[in-house]
Symmetry: C4
Subunit: 275 residues, 4 copies
């Protein structure tokens, strides 16, 4: 990626900016990433505090000012990213490119759309900006192991979730029939399904609870089911993680070509040959 | 399964319908499966919306019309299935055959049984129809791994559930004795058992909560127990999934063509031949 | 155990009773076990129904009669067990011997102690009688695998529970300080500890909830902690179950003395030798 | 550690005290540890009971007396520890040294700071003293396995918690937008985030529950997400524990005396020597 002989100073500047913004192996790049992280954090904290009635009335002006300063910083950053990257369109349409743009837009949209209510919806997206921080640091490797495990088991988890949806549809319908007339809480099948999800996932708000004996029995069955069924996703991911761990550590022995060596191994554990 | 030289055109039609309805490797078969999936989905959504008071009063007629159209489609489909299958009785008595029939019946039963309330009970069964969709697509393989794991560990899970039932009986009885007189919520042993299940499974509705000090202590013990006990089904399924994973990676033996060898196997465990 | 040439008919009778009551490999023994199971079940159901106000007032007499008949049956069974067993004292002091005795006592104690309230406490113990059923059937093997896994990991689980107790003491005290004055729910440290257990185990009754901002933040931290900490007992038992599974299937190969063969293996997977 | 030829009797006394207080392989050392454990337990129980209104009014004097006696014992113990240890400053600044000091301070601080309210805050720290007991007994080994597993997987758990925080920020903001105007419970983003944590971790207090249809749908999604996501920390710790188990069974290499070999290893992975 590095080009040590730029023909013009403009290209040199571009490369320099690229190294600062997109890479983090130079001191300047590191300072930039940390600074950006802090700005995003401040931006989120401001949104959080602004949503609290008492703070909004007292510090409205301060919050607005900070927001605008941060929006300008993020805008400049976005323009610089577009400027220094080799393929601007590719970046603009990438996952982080879209998030970067969405993070700036809400503040500007406030000019055209006056309804404050709908504005907040978009503002919440600004929180997604925090994902960029994952580009920082050594967490990536650890995150990748998790991601790879989830990726490997996503098919099984999809089937599991599909079963859960069907289960919840049937349980919800049955509870609507059982509790329907006697309990105002179970006033429709969708509400009953909502209750079934609350119960099966062991969340248990308690805003909707059965009152009939058969309803209580049914919900007891659902609870025990949920208690046992949680073993399925757990088993899927555990099995995947163990496989993952075994694979990641493994390189094949050049002598006996067996795999399954630990990361810190210098010699093959099967034939004693040097790795 | 495929018969490329049918003697009569009737038999050819039958086979053609069979391929469309029961198999999904022809384009027509795929379209049929997807169409059926959409019809079932629409049917479920209509039942869901019809159960909501406000929608029922406004769109009663629309819901009824859609329901009748879908019932007719499912009826035709059921008859075609009976017609084209080689052993109609075998199909009619199979798991999916029964579900297919149960999915059609509620709408017709409405003619004979006028009590709307009891009718809804049967209508809920229509939701089971969604299971048929599992015949679709590549999810089957993933689902089979899960099913096999659950199947392998079903004995252990049964023992576990039996222990849970006994545990819950004893805890419920004890809490009835402890809280009985002082707390209206614990008015009978069945109710106390319901509370014990709500607590042990960490659902925690909060509709029944202990008020005495000893009752609170007891329930704290039950909670920690439930928190630790959930490890048992999880451990069972995890162990089974990992075993499953080890087997699935194995290849067939070139001598006896049996499968299910471990990854580190050098010789077939059934015939002793080299792999 | 079987003695086919008893010297006297009394000893023969004794042996015959022993075979019926304690063993289950004769048809008579099986009928006895199943019968006993049904009697215990009926006995539990009667206790359950009797505790419900409405049933108690209506069927008091019926419940009492059934209870007395069952108590007599269990008494006769207990005497027969003492009579036919070789070491009566050994049986009487064994786990099941004590439970068998405790199951009969409550009904008789009612003669001497008139206070109904305290009587119910002992009656609840009758439910423990259900444990005897575990002597039945093929579930034993499956149950043993679970038991062995729990047994192996009981040291680790004890340390885990000890940590949980300390954690809960500290969290409870901190929440008492934080919420103490402002929230009537947190009126003492024991109550705060009860709340901490309810929250950490993800039960979440909602009978005690934080009202201050710092209290809500603290409880959010406790919840996420509880969500992550549940991985520890699960990991302990999973690891133990997998080890257990590997061991149980294993027998050493007579040729290469390697272990780790599957239960259905006829040949060693490492050297191909017959097992 | 043991010095069998002390030159002066003072040094001999010091060593003797050291053996009693810091080590537990002499009978005196064991009695000391058990005694200390009981004193700490009594101290905690007194704090617990004192916080209960009714006990405080009745037994204020008794509680105070016990507290002062225990504070004196712990003070003497602390001074003796400082006296007998070779590097007093090293001990004073160690984890247990700081906890030992913090355990004594609250009672003395009561002289200078009169505000009772702020005093209780420090008193709660006394509960931390219980950690010292871990120096006792054979639990250490079991605890180390758990600690090592958690240590190994702390990077992955950190990434997981970071994801959870981001997830909860976004879900909280979205629910604030959805429920904001219609539901008084969701009056700010921080409160919505608190709700998101309560729901995602399956705690489910029920103090804040959605009322709109879209809000209920969203929370159903969050619940199922939380139900599936719990598999991640569980998988991480399970995989780590199983790895740990594999290592622990290994013997030391006879050539380089390094440990940590897999069970199926034939050669040392560090030096290549035969095991």
């Amino acid at each position: 990626m590095k080009n040590n002989s730029p023909s013009t100073s403009r290209r040199s500047l571009r490369l320099h900016i690229y190294e600062i913004i997109f890479e983090s192996d130079t001191p300047a790049g590191k300072y930039f990433d940390v600074g950006l992280f802090i700005f995003i954090l401040v931006s989120i904290i401001v949104v959080l505090f602004e949503s609290v009635e008492s703070y909004r009335t007292s510090y409205q002006e301060t919050f607005r000012t900070i927001e605008w300063i941060l929006t300008c910083i993020f805008l400049i950053e976005y323009i610089l990213r577009l400027y220094c990257v080799r393929k601007p369109l590719h970046y603009a349409l990438s996952f982080y490119g879209i998030i970067d743009l969405l993070a700036i837009m809400p503040s500007f949209l406030a000019f055209f759309i006056t309804a404050g209510q709908s504005l907040i919806v978009i503002r919440a997206l600004r929180l997604l900006r925090i994902f960029r921080i994952f580009k920082l640091g050594s967490f990536m490797a650890q995150g990748n192991v998790i991601m790879e495990s989830i990726n490997q088991s996503k098919g099984k988890i999809a089937v599991f979730l599909y079963f859960i949806v069907i289960l919840v549809l049937i349980i919800g319908s049955m509870m609507y029939v059982i509790e329907g007339g006697k309990n105002q809480d179970f006033d429709s099948i969708p509400t009953s399904i909502y209750w079934a999800i609350v119960t099966l996932t062991t969340v248990g708000y308690g805003d909707i609870t059965p009152v009939t004996n058969i309803g209580k029995f049914m919900s007891a069955v659902v609870m025990i089911l949920g208690y046992a069924v949680i073993a399925v996703p757990t088993g899927i991911v555990s099995a995947s993680m163990i496989n993952q761990g075994r694979k990641i550590n493994g390189q094949a022995c050049p002598h006996c070509s067996k795999e399954g060596h630990d990361n810190d191994a210098s010699y093959c554990k099967f034939c004693g040959g040097e790795l």
